[in-house]
Amino acid sequence: MDRGRMTEEGYEGKIRILLVEDDKVDQMAFKRLVKDENLPYCYTTTESVSEVKKILDSNKRFDIVIVDYSLGDGTAFDIFDLVKDTPVIVTTGSGNEKVAVKAMKAGAYDYLIKDPERNYLKVLPITVESAIKRRESEEQFRMLSHAIMSINDSVYIADMNDRIIFVNKAFCKTYGYEEGDIVGRDINVLGEFGLKDEIYHKRRDGSEFPISLSRSVIKDESGKEVAVIRVVRDITERKRTEGVLPEAYDELERRVEKRTAELSKANELLIQENAERRRAEALLFRQKEEIEKAHAHLRETTQMLIQAEKMSAVGTIVAGVSHELNNPMMGILNFIQYCLKHTSKEDKRYSILQDAERETNRCIDIIKDLLTFSRMEKEGPEARQKETCTVIFDRVFRLLSYRIEKEGILVTRHSTEEIPSIWMKVNNIQQVFLNLIINALDALRDSNRKEIHVDIQREGEFVQVIVADTGCGISPENVQRIFDPFFTTKPVGEGTGLGLSVCRSIIKEHGGEITCESRSGIGTKFRILLPIDRRKERIPWSTVLDKRREERK
């Protein structure tokens, strides 16, 4: 603890010493000691009482004063009065021990007997140190005493025989004793009674009061219990409040209840308002949805019209061209057959003529298919006829057989016998299937495994058509968009982005549904559901579809 040692600039950490010594040799010896031992001293040397007075008047502060007993203009006792609280070490000549005892009694911290060999200087540092330490603990003690004396809680210390040896001011005030009346008496005089949580003490006048009590045992350096210190707090006020508190709580609760009720009501109103707002929002949302739906429908219709227009134009050309081709094809076929008839089977030209005949027949078939396709746009909305999906796929694959063979694609087709025919716009449905197969062929272009699987099944009131390929697949973000008009991943000039959107429109027009599942790098699967009889009912299929969708889940 450095509390007792004042610090000044430049002296920090050093012990400030005032040496009062009229013997020059002793002064020099001191100085040499400080220098030789490298002691942490910062010192001032004086020779007389008057000089000390002058120095102290200039507000200079010291941690310790070392003073020779006899000075020219006085003695060490004169210095005691001047330095007040600063610890003083008195030095005297040998044989002057009586003076030393006198000095100690007068308040000196310590003394040193000067011997002729000046050995006393060897013990000087220790003496200085212990004086300063003592000074510090004294200060500490003073401070603690002051603290204990002045705190508001009552403190009393009793020795191990329960004799009171100390009380503070608050104790005296609370219990009504003078310090002198209580010190030395047994603690029983406080009349302690009660249980752990509810202890009462008696004042001098016999009145009782509730207290809270803390108790600590004081041990000396060897660990021996020497005293017990108790801190007492008068809790009369708290006890009183405790009685009032429940009432206050009740009142508070009542208020809270009332406020809660008010808030609940407000909240209910708010909820009602919210509900109304939500209803309005829902209505708005539905209206918005309907508008969006109408927009989507309009967009689809527009796309269909564009497509129809396009197909109509293309269809007319194709129909005309195909038609015109029929006559020359008939000619070619018959010319070849005439030649075949008049060529010996041994003639090597015979088999070549057979090839020519076969290829011509293929051309004739293609023209037939093209005519079927081109006719569709000329049909009115009621131009439906009964047809099975299987037959339509026959035509589609015949139309694409050249490409399928050339690109080395394995096509598997599976269908059960009892696939019912459907009232449909044959050419439109054919366009859908053709589109799907062409898409599959495009997807297979860079695949190692080149397979297309077509599966046609009856599914209750529906015919289910699945077209699956082992192609490059469609990324998840694109799968959602493939049915959007103008969405295409094909290079410019290869796809218009209308194909699948038109497909969906056609399937929808038939009261059916088309969905797509795809995994990048693995393949794509289109599933089409077409209602078997659309002639009687038009709308309810959508509800049946919804139900089926539910079931699938």
Partner: protein
């Protein structure tokens, strides 16, 4: 006396197809490249069977048919067509007017021509 067949078609390839296909059948096959010419031939000759095209410049197939029937009500007339929609209504009307005809679809192969012709001229037993 071999049976006479008339083919009326503006397309030479078609006319020639019939002629070549029926070459060794013993029938006498004649051809006209227009409705007008065919009608003229029917006026001067008696045919056992007529193959008639629908879409022709000048007198089309239906018109030719109607004119032909005014002269010969019994000769079998087979309209050989690639199905031109625009003539369907006229054909329907003709049928409603009691004008007899059959329709076969182009293109026809040699075998088909022979089979159809024999079927008509000899009856099914000849096949």
């Amino acid at each position: 006396m071999s049976k006479r067949i008339l083919v009326i078609d503006d397309e030479e390839a078609v006319r020639k197809s019939f002629i070549l296909a029926l070459e060794d059948t013993g029938y006498r096959v004649e051809a006209a490249e227009s409705g007008e010419k065919g009608f003229n031939m029917i006026q001067t000759n008696k045919y056992d069977l007529v193959f008639l095209d629908l879409k022709m410049p000048g007198m089309n197939g239906v018109k030719t048919l109607r004119e032909l029937r005014k002269i010969d009500k019994t000769v079998p007339v087979y309209i050989v067509t690639a199905f031109h929609k625009e003539f369907f209504d006229q054909l329907k009307e003709a049928a409603e007017d009691g004008i007899g005809f059959e329709i076969i679809k182009k293109p026809l192969s040699s075998d088909q021509i022979v089979l159809i012709t024999k079927g008509i001229l000899e009856g099914p037993q000849s096949l």
